[in-house]
């Protein structure tokens, strides 16, 4: 009989403390971030989709079309090609397509590029109805960045 009563008493006490805790939480301020109105700031090392780096003055991509990133990528998202440079000393990038639908953001391409030509962008809210919007042309994106920079 005593077990029966003590169980009710301890049970009742635990229920009351439970209510007290949620009551105190009821009056505490809100912790959630109201997304559309308060936009989160991305940390410096955040991995968005990759983009080309251009050297400041000429605005040309640093890429020398060596294809290391194309080979490093586990899911073969990068496809690029270039043509001989007119002045004959290396190649110029003509096409750099990233298929972001297959990219798993592992960072092997950025790591394998030793000409400092690739980095992670910081935009995170990419949404679209059409899959082809995610077949991104990096060169065009670079030109837009250059155009809006000056």
């Amino acid at each position: 009989m005593s077990g029966y009563l003590s169980e009710i008493v301890t049970g009742g006490k635990s229920l009351i403390t439970g209510l007290a805790i949620t009551a105190r939480e009821f009056f505490r301020p809100v912790v959630t971030e109201q997304y559309p109105w308060e936009v989160p700031t991305m940390t410096p090392l955040f991995r968005g989709h990759i983009e080309l780096i251009a050297n400041e003055e000429t605005g040309e991509p640093n890429c020398v079309v060596c294809g290391m990133c194309q080979r490093a990528c586990p899911s073969a998202c990068i496809s690029l090609d270039g043509k001989k440079n007119e002045s004959g000393k290396g190649k110029v990038l003509t096409r750099y397509i990233l298929d972001f639908t297959k990219c798993s953001l592992c960072g092997l391409c950025v790591e394998s590029c030793n000409f400092n030509a690739l980095r992670f962008s910081k935009d995170y809210n990419l949404a679209s109805f059409d899959k082809n919007d995610f077949i991104m042309d990096m060169l065009k994106r670079l030109e837009e960045q250059n155009r809006c920079k000056h």
Partner: protein, 372 residues
């Protein structure tokens, strides 16, 4: 205490639990043959999220398998990275600098706390309590932000490389981790234990439910909190020390009852132990490089290699067979939940539907890790 009840074998009906079911975290289907509300036979059916990671391992080079490791158990992705890095470093004989080992331990333990927090939230959700989920996610968000600062991603990390880690940790991360530990230690007794652990409804709901004996664990190969809840003192960080774990002193919580309450308490204590490890690792963090020298294209010597790592759910084993080429010849991923779930069929017999779900919640299942 499942009342010994006489199950009429003929009047049973088959109830499909899943694959779209709120209680199975992911796409697990359990074919339950039921007699009224009692489970006569439970047979998990797998394969709804099977992606054949082992074939991908054979296709790509060693480094290219890192993104896959994080996609298997996305709750404790860093431990999977760590396991894969360990087995290949063992095979190819790559040295890892001291600082990288410490960073690996810190991030793996932080990820373990995040995984246990999410297990706790989802377990309470299975049992009907909705509010604890929000409190647990409030804490887990802090860890995810910390890890995002240094690894760049929030859930599926590809942070480790052979010979070290992708990039170094900075002082803001260290300060943030110390604040997080102080904050969680402050909230743990009130929000986690008073509100939930001592609650009579929860105690009645998971005490003596899903009794798993030590012998059953051994025969089914269950490891991790499921085994430690049944009295087996087996934690790979202690039994087969790897990385720099021998340098930290922490206990392995072991409970002998073997019921869902024991597994629950094991995980709650493990969160506390992980915080202790992180603090000691932060105090002893050495300087130096974070990336040892590793050849660009790895060709490990032919042979059979095995590495075991303690994830939040049990011992994750990588059985690697190399034939000297630049791709793994064969990689078998021994996933802990695959074995933990295999004992569900035997233990769930004669249970009520509600108890079977409480038992499944206490097993802490992550379905992509079972199906691989």
């Amino acid at each position: 205490m499942t009342v010994p009840v006489h199950l009429r074998q003929d009047e049973t009906f088959v109830l499909n639990l899943g694959p779209q079911h709120p209680a199975t975290h992911g796409v697990l289907r359990v074919k339950l043959t039921m007699d009224g509300e009692y489970v006569v036979k439970a047979e998990p059916v797998l394969g709804y999220i099977h992606r054949m990671h082992e074939k991908m391992a054979e296709e790509g080079t060693f480094v290219q398998f890192f993104p896959n490791t994080a996609r298997m158990d996305y709750l404790h992705a860093l431990a999977f990275n760590h396991g894969w890095a360990l087995v290949v470093e063992k095979a190819a004989g790559i040295e890892v600098p001291e600082r990288a080992e410490y960073i690996r331990v810190i991030t793996v333990e932080l990820n373990r706390i995040a995984s246990h927090l999410l297990w706790w939230a989802a377990f309470l959700l299975d049992l009907g309590g909705f509010t604890p989920l929000l409190y647990a996610f409030d804490d887990r968000e802090k860890i995810i932000d910390l890890l995002e600062r240094i690894t760049g991603s929030r859930l599926t990390y590809s942070y480790m490389r052979f010979g070290g880690v992708y990039n170094d940790i900075d002082d803001e991360f260290i300060a943030g981790t110390r604040d997080f530990i102080k904050r969680l230690r402050g909230r743990m007794p009130r929000l986690y234990h008073d509100l939930v652990t001592h609650n009579i409804i929860l105690i009645k709901r998971i005490k003596d439910i899903g009794l798993v004996s030590a012998e059953q664990c051994r025969r089914y190969g269950a490891t991790g909190p499921v085994a430690r809840g049944s009295g087996i003192n087996y934690d790979i960080r202690k039994n087969e020390p790897y990385s720099v774990y021998p340098e930290f002193d922490f206990e392995v919580p072991v409970f002998n009852e073997g019921d869902s309450m024991a597994r629950y308490m094991v995980r709650m204590h493990e969160m506390e132990q992980s915080m202790r490890i992180i603090e000691q690792a932060l105090d002893k963090l050495p300087g130096g490089p974070v990336m040892g020298k590793a050849p660009k294209v790895l060709k490990p010597e032919a042979g059979y290699y095995y590495s075991a790592v303690e994830t939040a759910r049990g011992s994750l084993g990588h059985r690697l067979v190399c034939d000297g080429g630049k791709n793994p010849y064969k990689l078998k991923l021994r996933s802990p939940t695959f074995c933990n779930l295999s004992l569900f069929g035997e233990v769930a017999e004669g249970m009520l539907l509600a108890d079977a779900l409480a038992f499944m919640g206490s097993l802490d299942l992550v379905i992509p890790e079972i199906d691989r």
